[in-house]
Amino acid sequence: MSNHTEIRWHGRGGQGAKTAALLLADVAFKTGKYVQGFPEYGPERMGAPITAYNRISDEVIRVHSNIYDPEFVVVVDESLLETVDVTAGLKKEGAILVNTARPKEEIIPHLKGYEGKLYTIDAHKVSMEAMGKYFPNTPLLAAIVKVANIMDEETFLREMQASFKHKFASKPEVIDGNMKALEMALKEVK
């Protein structure tokens, strides 16, 4: 299976990890890929740890299992590092992206010896600066697109602009903030 990428999201209910996975599926779809975006459901409510998944491929995706050996993991809420085995099965050729303001040195000890790459982004800062509110989805989406090399930045921004125009047709004033968050995140992820 050429060019088949699997991504796992760790978040808390209500933070939008599921939405982020669906947005990623959406944007990858627009570049002609086969996609899957799906949450792992339980009865949890706001605040409980949840997992969501993406498969992005050049070929038809038929498998319907969860993802156990992802290339990439996104941690939407860094407090999950303490309680969830976020690097379980994560391929060392891949990477983990953590939403944090802390330096990488402070994150590494939580990764249970994971040998692959660690990226961080302060989605809080980006979100507050760009949109004035904390929506971690938007910056994290941009960051994972870059980290996982889902598509080139220009295409990504163009597709997202179109998507926001559609999504926020009734409140166009928020489009600019969202676009700014994406652009900032592409720069700030490290």
């Binding site: 959406d26 899957q36 975006g37 799906f38 459901y41 038929r62 319907h64 299992s65």
Partner: protein, 394 residues
């Protein structure tokens, strides 16, 4: 044949099919994971995209009751549900079928209580398998959509006139966004056509009475009369699928045979795990293993002769049941397939797995192991324990 590429969850796909069909009456009551279907549909109603009478009733028993009333009245009607909702409709399922009402049910499969669980298995629809409904299952969102588009053509066919259940796997396909190709609205409308019942309550030319008390002298003949509709289902399903292929380019039958041409080992399975199994088949085929898959589409009525024919050269078969039926010897699909094999005097060795209950995940590796087990069965010349659990801690 202009299709539109899109990416949708299975629930969205069903809802869009329903928008395109624009049924007359849709009574509904929410239950996870089917809730999104009436939600999406309610928004279509709210925005004037359909002119359906949407009735938000107070229970699933009432949603099916109202659908029956609407259908008897002469309206194309349907509802959606899952799990305990279907169980709560149980009595009404039989009535819909015995009244020969061509209504549809979008079922999003979920485990039955107890313990309460919201995830996928097939215990809900399997429990309803003897209710007289047509049951069609989907592997993915595309099939769920395509099956929904074909549903009323099958159900309303004059030789059938039976209710139809369009099933897909809860969360696994209902909530997973995947690629899909949609048909144009006008094409769906033309394909489905108008509902024109012969006798119906709101026929100003002639009143009708439906739902009689039947004394013993009539009851058995009534049931046999009903069975005649069932006997015509396979033929009509194939005819409708042929027309659908002309429209969409997508081919459907009673079941799908995947790499069965020279297969010595086969898995028979229903639903989303079939896709996962296809990946296992491909991996093993790359290693030169003669393995194949039969994915059931039409489960009720059960195409026993055709399945036995498709399995006639196979040495060992694993039949996968995503439901227990507490027989002590296997699940419902196992019972049907084994009975088909017996009727066809098959010498194949068969084992029946119960798997995936309450959302227990099914991996490609799990299915590879099933084929490996079948290899051993052939080597032993004996199926061993014919009723097993897959993916259980023990």
């Amino acid at each position: 044949m202009a299709g539109k590429r899109d990416r949708l969850s299975g629930n969205e796909a069903i809802a869009i099919a329903l928008r395109q069909i624009n049924p007359d009456v849709f009574p509904a009551f929410p239950i996870t994971p089917s809730t999104e279907i009436p939600q999406y549909f309610a928004s279509f109603v709210a925005n004037g995209q359909v002119d359906t009478e949407f009735i938000p009733v107070e229970s699933e028993h009432s949603s099916m009751s109202a659908a029956i009333g609407a259908s008897a009245a002469g309206a194309r009607s349907l509802t959606a549900t899952s799990s305990c909702g279907l169980a709560y409709m149980w009595e009404e399922l039989y009535i819909a079928a015995s009244n020969r009402l061509p209504l549809a049910l979008a079922l999003v499969n979920r485990a039955l209580s107890g313990p309460i669980n919201i995830n996928c298995d097939h215990s809900d629809s399997m429990g309803a398998r003897d209710a007289g409904w047509i049951q069609i299952y989907a592997e993915n969102n595309q099939e769920a959509y395509d099956n929904m588009v074909q549903a009323f053509r099958i159900s309303e066919h004059k030789d059938v006139r039976l209710p139809i259940m369009i099933c897909q796997d809860g969360f696994i396909t209902s909530h997973a966004v995947e690629n899909i190709e949609l048909l144009e609205d006008a094409d769906v409308k033309n394909f489905v056509g108008e509902y024109e019942p012969e006798d119906y309550l709101l026929n100003p030319e002639c009143p009708m009475a439906v739902g009689p008390y039947s004394i013993t002298d009539y009851y058995m003949e009534a049931k046999r009369n009903q069975a005649e509709g069932t006997r015509n289902v396979s033929r009509v399903v194939k005819e409708v699928a042929e027309d659908f292929e002309k429209l969409s380019g997508r081919k459907y039958g009673l079941f799908e045979e995947y790499r069965m041409e020279d297969a010595e080992r086969a898995v028979v399975i229903i639903g989303s795990a079939a896709g996962t199994t296809k990946d296992a088949v491909d991996r093993l085929r790359e290693q030169g293993e003669k393995v194949g898959l039969i994915k059931i589409r039409l489960f009720r009525p059960f195409p026993a002769d055709e399945i036995a024919e498709a399995l006639k050269n196979v040495k060992a078969i694993a039949i996968m049941d995503r439901a227990e039926s507490y027989t002590n010897h296997g699940g419902p699909l196992g019972a049907d397939v084994m009975s088909a094999l017996f009727r066809a005097r098959s010498q194949a060795l068969a084992i029946n797995y119960v798997y995936g209950l309450g959302g227990r995940d099914v991996r490609v590796e799990d299915m590879e192991n099933v084929y490996e087990t079948l290899k051993q069965v052939i080597a032993d010349g004996d199926a061993g324990e014919m009723y097993r659990y897959m993916g259980i801690r023990e």
